[in-house]
Symmetry: C2
Subunit: 335 residues, 2 copies
């Protein structure tokens, strides 16, 4: 299957269409400024992967799509909140090809909107018409995921040089951060979906494993994108990481694989001072020369293989197939 | 009873001591930066009024103190989160006499810590050992309260001149904002406490009424404090509102009560340009001259009377008495 066909399979699936319909219906217009800004943050052209993973996990264990839909919207609220606040922290003025929330509405309203979206995560979750005990389990799962997400965001800031060992022993710290920052919400979405869908503990464990590997693959490939794509396609200034002097996955690999000259070059770039475009170009050369680009891609593809390896035993082959396609998508997209 | 004795009665009550012990035990030290910053935000010398109201409401309807303690901590998390994010928005570098969270740890970590505290609100709530249906009701109640709180924060920004009608018809808008910004969390804490304590719908309604009036009294009196106290006592730079050109309750009353000269003077101050100290002094003169200070105090006291009027029918007179003391405290404190 081509990459385009794969993206189409996922984002045009009946599940995705139902999620988009539910999101549009819930945020149909009117209301106060808080609603308007929330709508702007939510109804952007994203792929809705986390809600999709939640619904597919629920259906994979025999659950009902409509019954878990409020939870599917809920995980998108948390994701959107983290993007809104992340863009403030990183000073990113564009997101998916348009003004980020704080660039358009100001920092104050962006902070408050993110807060409101986090709160609505739990309000929406509590609307699911499934047994109370399952809803409460999902509340606990997503509270844990949200906490991990915050830990990952805070750790990310600590990985920037000259933090001790930011580059040298940075790969392990990086993978720990990625597991929290991206993996936790993927995992929370899949676990919550399986629990709300009435899955057995074994089934919940299988989708959790799937989600962790898929989350790692996504984060690894996200870090590769600035070295592969161009900003007109990714819709995000791909110098954000380098502007924030953040050593990402391929850069850390290049630092490990390279000789003294390559290491010094990376260290000089991440010490700051270069214009973002020049810094990215310099890193691209080192990442290519050391073979780190291919290596990073291979790592991400291995995570996808691991993600898909356990899905075969789930009751619904169709929903499990959709989960597999989401994992594939992690390493086959241009933004 | 003197004001000091009243404050002592509330903040040294066995309930308050138990809450402080539970909070200290939960945040005893160690952990990652996120835990350290959360501890800094939480273990400041506040009065813990919202947890106190939650526990007292639970006990007032016959509930168990220990069983609702995780929910009591939960409402303090939301309150602390709103202060951390509010201080960023208002640019306030001190809070309760020490550095605010963003002043000490930076804006990025302050945003993330506030997010984590909001998430923990729900995680902690889900720990209460009471029937699942009651925990879920409390989740819904506090999600609603949190959403209202955000609406109130956003509306507050809209009340600043030259927003249309910010001063002229501002009193109604102000009271609506205050009901959301302060009243919603007071109401949520009391409602959640009564529900988790196994109260009847009638009892839940009584504590909700109590909380709304008490919340209004608190907000009204908070607005009076800059005109009464001095910063060394309030522990907050009392020029925050005037620096942010925010027309507060006594100022709005003075605008309504005053003649054309007083109105023009208020409008000139709130148009900006004066140093904060001079602006506050000018507003103080108008607020005194128009009788708005006494009027604002009388309004706040009337809300306290209304708050206490329904408490007599609650099963536990002792817990109801503590709620009444909290309401009294609203208008008898120096910070």
């Amino acid at each position: 299957m081509t990459a385009d066909a794969l993206i189409h399979e996922v984002t045009s699936s009946p599940v995705a269409a139902d999620i988009r319909r539910a999101l549009d219906a819930r945020w149909s217009g009117g209301g106060e400024p808080l609603d308007e800004i929330s709508r702007y943050a939510l109804l952007s052209p994203g792929k809705l992967l986390r809600p999709l993973m939640l619904v597919a996990s629920a259906e994979a264990v025999g659950g009902d799509r409509e019954a878990v839909m409020p939870a599917a919207l809920a995980v998108e609220y948390l994701h959107a909140a983290s993007l809104v606040h992340d863009d403030i922290i990183d000073g990113d003025d564009t997101r998916r090809g348009r003004a980020s929330v704080h660039a358009r509405y100001g920092v104050a309203d962006a902070i408050i909107t993110g807060d409101a979206l986090i709160i609505r995560l739990f309000g929406s979750l509590a609307e699911c018409p499934v047994p109370d005990a399952d809803v409460l389990s999902a509340v606990r799962i997503l509270a844990r995921a949200g906490d991990d997400l915050c830990r990952g965001q805070m750790r990310e800031a600590l990985l920037v040089p000259p933090a001790p060992g930011a580059l040298g022993s940075g790969l392990a710290a990086y993978l720990g951060m990625a597991a929290l920052k991206t993996g936790a919400l993927f995992r929370g979405a899949c676990q919550a979906g399986a629990v709300l869908g009435g899955g057995t503990p074994g089934e919940v464990g299988i989708v959790a494993e799937f989600a962790e590997h898929t989350g790692l693959a996504f984060q690894m490939y996200d870090d590769l994108l600035p070295f592969l794509g161009d900003p007109a396609v990714t819709g995000k200034p791909d110098t954000s990481d380098v502007s924030n002097l953040r050593p990402t996955f391929p850069v850390l690999l290049a630092h490990r694989e390279g000789g003294p000259a390559e290491r010094r070059r990376i260290e000089r770039v991440l010490a700051g001072g270069l214009a973002p475009g020049a810094a990215l170009a310099a890193l691209r050369e080192v990442v290519m020369a050391t073979g780190a680009l291919d290596l990073a891609l291979a790592h991400a593809q291995e995570e996808v293989r691991l993600a898909k390896s356990g899905l075969g035993v789930l009751p619904s082959a169709e929903a499990a197939g959709l989960l597999g396609a989401v994992a594939e998508l992690a390493v086959r997209r241009d933004r």
